[in-house]
Assembly symmetry: D2
Homo-oligomer: 344 residues x 4
């Protein structure tokens, strides 16, 4: 079996580190290069001590073309606005790229309005929005924009009803673990501020909202920023996002029909597990450490409450990126990714 | 100063124990009787070890009339359906009662539909719904029905907009600490099941919903079970409920006007603290252990997201009960209750 | 009743803020001045939002003599090495001082060796080590050095056996909440680093060890750094220190005799609660938010395991400081301090 | 590649479930039978919902000989005293057994004194104590007694110094996640009782102590119950045991020599990672979900503080059992077990 050579641009943070954890378990891919400007020259395991004995690389700071020479595919796990500085050169070097930043998820003008800066590499339509359950065209792409963590869970919770044109209002109320905020300590991540607490933030204006609106709007024309709402919270949890989608419908609803809609929509999607009516609702423990998105739902008279659960660092970031990698490189979608969730 | 004599019926659980913690700090009330059938004869501090050295009573199992003879006011902190067995005799004995169960919060037929059993002490209109910010008539009452923990935070978050007749849909998404589920271990409260997790439950049918619908319906006629929704969650937290109220309005909204509506509505309410626009949103740490309900809000185009935070055992139970006690006994509403929140 | 006027030098951190929480509940003391160089001019409740509606002061930056003019007693809640710059001027101004830093707890040469800097205000014997259970001479003092949080729980767990001359080796293994590390975010306090984790640190050389050795050495001559060991850990907890004292004895031990030793030693100490044999061991919930130190013990053949529990911000800092204040100002030791623990 | 067929007797609890999680990732073993008397006939994933889509077995209740007919090796993951009822029949059936209960870890008389019941299958010397780092003779065994979770971390932390004959007193102070207490809710595991808390229990008499004494006594004759002490605690953590070994030495110690002792002792042990001096001490995050035991140490004048960290469900139970399985079946020790830790 030939091993595929993989590069990780930006390996000091949680996403880069999670890519390594997952790729170490992938039978056909191996990490060849991990970059970090700040840490170049130091062993990866000095920073990620949990990987001691498992990975024998040092951080490097090569040029994009040097990376492209060595790698079959590169993950760019850098902050938004930093990816657009490196992705063009990587693509020119002939390597495929999965970008985990926000830089290629939105049309340029939406990106610029949302992130408040000019885009230096406009290529509308040039990147696939890498939610494979909605965009199988990842398979042929050279550049895939990996979705945000919140949008992954939110979009998947509402997509079947959106496609059926049934949603009048969609209110996504998400509860996230703090690892989504990254490796650097902050007021928000300070243990006494988060433990025994819940915090709502950016309640009407989070930067992930445009991704949600964009994807649901593709499924149901009438959905836009006047009827799709998103409110994130952090809860005292390291990993995981539970999204409660309050979907107010255009008409009354029939529970069996709605559940079947979801089961059909996701019937051939290996990483979405739709719960049967008697099976309880999804929760974070059941997906922890895995690439699954669990979905469950309960119907009211004129609305549905859908609950989705993902691990924000896996299906919400590194795992989904590898799912895209598999598709881009012609591997089975699940190769190396059917890692069982860790519960308890 | 004459001390008022207080009885607690049902002193083995969290609510009874919290009543003791708070009354120990009340300058004009003292606990005279604490009942528990199961624990009668044993010192209260054998069960509530944290109160060692502070309270020198044993659990008793007296008759209602014996309690009424000794006490000026009695708190019934028993499960729903148990209160209706004892409250009539207490009232006949001439003692005032604050009932912390669900038995007297709803009209009889709503109670019976919600709790699935017959009511043996129907007295519609005979109990005041004890949310003092909306029902100052607690002051003259002999029986006050202390609201549920979820309804307290939910109703207070939406009342000003409901009174202004502006709400089209109200979706309450609540995140609660597990102490609300009581002192007995369960699957839900098992540490490995709750830590690092979030769980939605009873997402369309929680028993507290009728209280919310009832009180908002009193403020805005058009609000009922087709446009008032409530979905509770448990989060890995001991105390506190954060309610995110997604309020979709009949018309567009003007942020300053909305904030002023809240500030006027709660201007003379000592336990509701409305946050100014720049002050961040409420969170559980800022109310922990106290009787405050903190409220903050952010306006969107056609909706408002209101966040309220309470300590479920204080403003959501024992504290609010003492607030009602103060009013019923002619004391200042805040007497003994301005206990500072414990943060961090 | 005349109110005593209190100053807090250094009011932006957890200790200063906890002093306010507790003094708000003190019937004979009121906070008059709260200082912060950085925050001078801003309302205290902008920083400590949980105190909104309870305290109406702004941070100030007055000179020591200005503070001394207004106050009966001042708490210096500043980092070590900062207190020695302000305490002399406060004392010259005629005000009593409880210093919560490390500056006056140790003889000058021990301080300098431990903290690695010169002491600019040497006054050996001029400050009382403010552990009132061992040093009632706080009562007449003008300067009290409030002990460190770890030493408080460690010393109290071993003092009776030390006084009896029975200890051969004392190994203190402490588990602390993270609030002891202060209000500023750090690697250690970053939620993903602390939640679901335990970390040992400074396992043989923590700066609090000399305080423990000093106080136990006063009780049992033979105890010194060759047989008194201290290893701290942080656990995923906001408040509290549980210290497990592994005390290896010179001779075999008789359980009842040992327990009686503790009960007699602490018989008249209102804030130390010694557990009876059948009452289980202390834990953090039973002292949370309170000034109690709970102690329990189990005897082996030639050793005793003693467990003590305190709230590090109360008995380990602000509460003990107020206990010292009461003694210094001639008030009953417990005035305003019998605040019930908050459990759950 | 031939797949080895594996049976799990007792599959409803955490250990059985963790065996499945790990074996799903093992390239040469597959689970054929999972037993549960109570759940027989129901799909495994009804109970272990996180394994939905990954394992397609139902619980069964076969006889030992039926199990032996199908399987190459059986894990008995049942409570102590239950294993001795089934292991003899399994062995007679010709299948190899790794017993995860306490039944075969100790000499019969020690077992009976510790667990307070008669042993019905005495076979002293017939089972290998399955700590492969000390007992490579697992390799040829037909019955291996998998060690307790606490003994694994405690013994490994002290073994090199014990073998060198240097230990005068060994005090093991362990901090454990609550999953060690099993899947059933209890007072101890009730979230409000454990969160924000630390609890010491069985501080001088825990049932795991005899295993520790036994193994250290094999390495250093002079070690016995008068100088080997063990005190466990539960901390608010799901997984992991951090053991702080306070080792008082017979003589002074030289830090480099001690560290080298550990590095040599564990040089060829793939699952023990000894930290270099500058690398910080082990913690639970760095081993979470993995079979590693991380060890770090700091020397004092006449003592060493050693810190070991394991995942109690992996190296402390299911992982170590699979490590033994690999050895018993002639596979490389690390086959299928180099699963990277999950951090954060």
């Amino acid at each position: 079996m030939t091993m595929l050579d993989i590069g990780i641009v930006g390996g000091s943070g949680y996403t880069g580190c999670e890519l390594m954890r997952l790729l170490l378990q992938h039978p056909e891919a191996r990490v060849r290069i991990v970059t970090s400007r700040r840490l170049a020259g130091t062993p990866v395991t000095d920073t990620h001590k949990h990987l001691a004995g498992l990975i024998d690389l040092s951080f490097e700071n090569p040029s994009p073309s040097e990376i492209a020479d060595v790698c079959d595919l590169v993950f760019t796990a850098v902050p938004h606005s930093a990816a657009m500085d490196i992705v063009p050169a990587l693509l020119e070097g002939g390597v495929r790229v999965v970008d985990l930043s926000a830089d290629y998820r939105l049309p340029v003008q939406v990106f610029e309005a949302t992130y408040g800066r000019a885009h230096t590499d406009p290529r509308d339509g040039g990147a696939v929005f890498g939610l494979p359950e909605l965009h199988p065209e990842s398979a042929g792409a050279s550049l895939v924009a990996n979705p945000g963590c919140y949008p992954t869970g939110a979009i998947l919770s509402a997509a079947p009803l959106a496609k059926a044109g049934m949603i009048k209002y969609a209110i996504f109320d998400s509860k996230s673990g703090i690892s989504g905020a990254g490796v650097d300590p902050s007021e928000m991540s300070h243990y006494p501020n988060l433990a025994e607490n819940v915090r709502a933030y950016n309640v009407t204006t989070h930067r992930h909202l445009p991704e949600i609106v964009q994807e649901l709007g593709l499924l149901e024309d009438a959905l836009n920023h006047t009827n799709v709402f998103f409110t994130p919270h952090v809860v005292p949890v390291i990993r995981g996002i539970l999204t409660t989608a309050h979907l107010i419908l255009r008409e009354g609803c029939e529970p069996n029909a709605i559940l079947n809609l979801y089961k059909e929509f996701y019937g051939d999607k290996p990483f979405v597990r739709v719960r049967e009516a008697g099976d309880g609702l999804p929760n974070l423990a059941d997906v922890r450490g895995s690439n699954f998105c669990d979905i469950g739902l309960v119907c009211g008279e004129n609305r549905v409450v859908v609950v989705s659960a993902i691990d924000n660092l896996v299906k919400g970031a590194a795992g989904q990126a590898i799912q895209n990698m598999n598709l881009m490189l012609g591997l089975p979608e699940t190769r190396g990714l059917l890692i069982p969730p860790m519960s308890p």
